[in-house]
Amino acid sequence: MTVVEQKVFAMSGDEAVAYAVKQSDVDVVAAYPITPQTIIVEKFSEYVHNGEVDTEFICVESEHSALTACLTAAAVGARAFTATASAGLALMHEILYVTSGCRAPVVMAVANRALSAPINIHCDHSDTMVERDSGWIQIYAENSQEAYDSIIQAFRIAEHPDILLPVMVGLDGFFLSHTLENVRILPDETVKGFLGNRKFPLVRNHEGKLVPFRLAPENPITIGPLDLYDYYFEHKRQQEEAMRRASEIIKQVHGEYANVGGRQYGDGLIETYHLEDAEIATICLGSTAGTVKTVVDELRSKGIKAGLLRIRTFRPLPVKEITVALKNVKAVGVMDRACSFGGFGGPVFHEIRHILYDAPVHPHVVNYIYGLGGRDMSYILINQIYRDLERILETNRVEKKVQFIGLRE
């Protein structure tokens, strides 16, 4: 397949997401406004009002209801989408688990925003990091283009008959959600062809008959009613299995999309930047990676072997890929835009140190917690991190395993 010609629109991240949803032939959208996500559904409601889509748009009274509406729509076989941020995602918490447990392939955009209190509307990853164990696939976009591409891919991943897991796509609040960027837009029919219609695997119903996995009067089934200690554990194991399978499907879908759209984000799971021969490297998620790449370019021009590993898919965690990518690195700086109060560093740090425990050679792994509540992660601060890593490499000594970067003492 050849890469299709695409129009370039100036769009904010939120608009790019709304446009992707518009092209994805979504049956149901239910959402409740919350900054910095609001523009997504605001834009989408315009498409509905103008008759550009035939989507059922449900105005609900809370995020708890928004996700419930999407989950039930997905259970009858609809393609469903919602979007939220921060407190809205926290209010969905209960239904996040119900959605993944019911294997409802809902796609959700999260404009990453800090959690209260004090109230803060700006970007950090606290909202999605607390939901990492909720059984949702998590993809973090670096820019608005990737947010657009990821939403389209997310429907294919979620609805894959071997997966059937909900997907959340994170885009950094304000940094992406509210800033204009040139975004390449696929033709409508290309997206339509890429996604196709939902397919339903067969499940055995209460009469022992094999029927499509969807709520339909002609073939009634019951989804997720009650499990006690006798079967709950088995159903959770199935979800874990779907997550394991998802890694390959995410790569596949990402590859197929690249054939049509011409854009690639590493292998779809992780993206490496000058990492092959890097001695010092940082690891981050989301929009920060853009600035880090500029710093890496500069350091490279000075002959410093610096690199970057961006985790695009945080759930399922690409354990194998991360292990291989870091095999030559001697000092790793993990950047966390979320705090795990009372824990040993931030959530990404936990994973990386955990993964590297089995590595044949252990690099130094340190944690930099940054950017809480939208605090800017500047070029200067990233440089500071690389200087710190250089010092660790020279002295072979770590003074502080966990540091706060860009914080006033």
């Binding site: 055995r204 022992g208 089934i221």
Partner: protein, 98 residues
């Protein structure tokens, strides 16, 4: 007979019910079992009306009621409502030993 529990690879995803609910026997949740004194019982059928699990039925051939112990959870409502105290709740382990 309770069916052999299935493994995670054998059961449908998402808790889809693969058997009718009558085959999911809830009688084994019971700790106390209702036992009826046939002499005292007047067949007034109040227990039949009150049973929240429909585990008491009227058998017209016998002209008598029957307990379905496959579904009786031992809640004791029948014993509580019986106007002539014909039903006693017996600790099941004890009853088996006798």
């Amino acid at each position: 007979m309770k069916p052999q529990p299935k493994g995670w690879k054998e059961i449908p995803i998402a808790g889809v019910c693969w058997m009718p609910s009558e085959e999911y026997q809830t009688g084994d949740w019971r700790t106390f079992k209702p036992v009826r004194d046939l002499e005292k019982c007047t067949r007034c059928l109040l227990c039949y009306i009150y049973c929240p699990d429909s585990a008491i039925s009227w058998n017209p051939d016998k002209g008598d009621i029957e307990f379905d112990y496959n579904f009786c959870k031992g809640c004791g409502i029948c014993a509580n409502e019986c106007p002539v105290d014909a039903i006693t709740m017996v600790f099941e382990q004890e009853e088996k030993e006798e």
